[in-house]
Chain length 245, copies 2
């Protein structure tokens, strides 16, 4: 059953309230794996598994963003969205988010070739992330933009992660956490644009519902990744072929 | 790390040996959830969750099979594969596999509209099953056929399931298990064709490796579904929005 609020989605404000309710009830900040991660209750091997799997998500983000760009004949949207490619892929002499993620996996002692091969990730990670890229390719451009709205809720979890992980693990230092520090300024810009876009472009109750459903879909993409990590590396059910710390 | 045997894939026999090794080490008959299911250790609510989620897999099979058919200009392959649509979708006055699956969910006391809506399934189920349909659409026709080779290993698990579930649950009877009984005769025919096809059409070591990788992919599709059920309904981490028994 989806989140159902009594208000009809008859305005942008009603839709925004629903979106924030979805974040408050379904964003992966609520997942028990994150509580374990941030409070220092994981072993280094479990943190490695998290970073290894999330590399597949991080390295798929530019594919997703390029797919979004490819949906828009409106050049203004393409230009606005393009900076996300810069943010994640970097460029000539400019470090990007994927580079920063690899600093995290380097710092955790994972072999870079192994990380980049993605051969040790959980199949559930691959299915969830690929579902996100497919969603953005196949749904409406409005839904493609809306699926990025989880960024509305990201700064809080990033702050919690930076302070929690620095305080609680002796194998984590400032350099390793560079990815999250950078996202503290990048994510709000991205989220502001996407929220403004869906407020302006979802003009019927059905379109506003589709926007909310796209956000629920995306929270599921994130949640499934943590469920799979939790099952494999906290409960100990590591599937055949996956990374063993 | 994938399953690695010492023999090079320089013949159809070497490939078939590798395929059977993959089945012996990765098929979902090995998953602890199946052990619980077949030995009577699940509650009715947990069996409901299994049947509800697997409905999404069952009802996606004809999409997958139609996608396979759409890859072949060779009419003989299309004709051979077409009987799978008959098997699963049935026809005028002929019951199909999906109808039989709904008898199972009916028998377990699940509302048919709720089952068919798929709204209560685990997001991981949807991502895994959709990945299977996408695989068959996007990979080579050879890999599309190869991904169905899990049927080589299906009769044994179906026999185990029929006898185990009939013996161990008072809410299971013969009529409810009709789906699996029928598959005992259907699956071997399908598997024989697919195995013959890949033996004839994978002619290089690289193609034989692609066939083996397609089977590993498919075992992951099945395994992820049980991991998700286990995590949600055995370990008790039911994600937001999913069925609650």
């Amino acid at each position: 059953m989806n989140v159902i609020l009594p208000q009809p989605l008859d305005s942008a404000d009603a839709m925004e309230a629903r979106l924030r309710e979805i974040g408050a009830t379904r964003y992966h900040s609520l997942h028990p794996f994150h509580h374990l991660l941030h409070s220092g209750q994981l072993t280094k091997g479990q943190v490695q598994a998290w970073a290894l799997n999330r590399y597949y998500y991080q390295s798929s983000i530019p594919l997703k963003d390029a797919a979004v760009i490819s949906r828009f004949r409106d050049k203004a949207v393409r230009l606005e969205w393009r900076h996300r490619l810069d943010d994640h892929d970097g460029g000539e002499g400019a470090e990007g988010g994927i580079d920063r993620w690899l600093k995290l996996t380097d710092g955790l002692g994972l072999d870079r070739d192994y990380v980049e091969s993605t051969e040790g990730i959980l199949p559930a990670t691959r299915f969830a992330v690929d579902a996100y890229v497919t969603f953005v390719r196949e749904k409406t451009p409005l839904e493609a933009v809306a699926s990025s709205l989880t960024e509305l809720f990201a700064p809080q979890i990033h702050e919690e992660r930076i302070s929690g992980m620095l305080a609680n693990y002796d194998f984590i230092d400032d350099g390793i956490m560079a990815y999250f520090k950078r996202r503290l300024t990048q994510a709000p810009r991205d989220a502001d644009f996407a929220l403004h876009y869906v407020r302006e472009n979802a003009r019927t109750p059905e379109q506003r519902q589709a926007v909310c459903d796209a956000l629920i879909f995306k929270t599921n993409v994130l949640w499934v990744q943590l469920d799979a990590l939790h099952h494999a590396y906290v409960n100990g059910f590591i599937p055949p072929g996956a990374f063993r710390p």
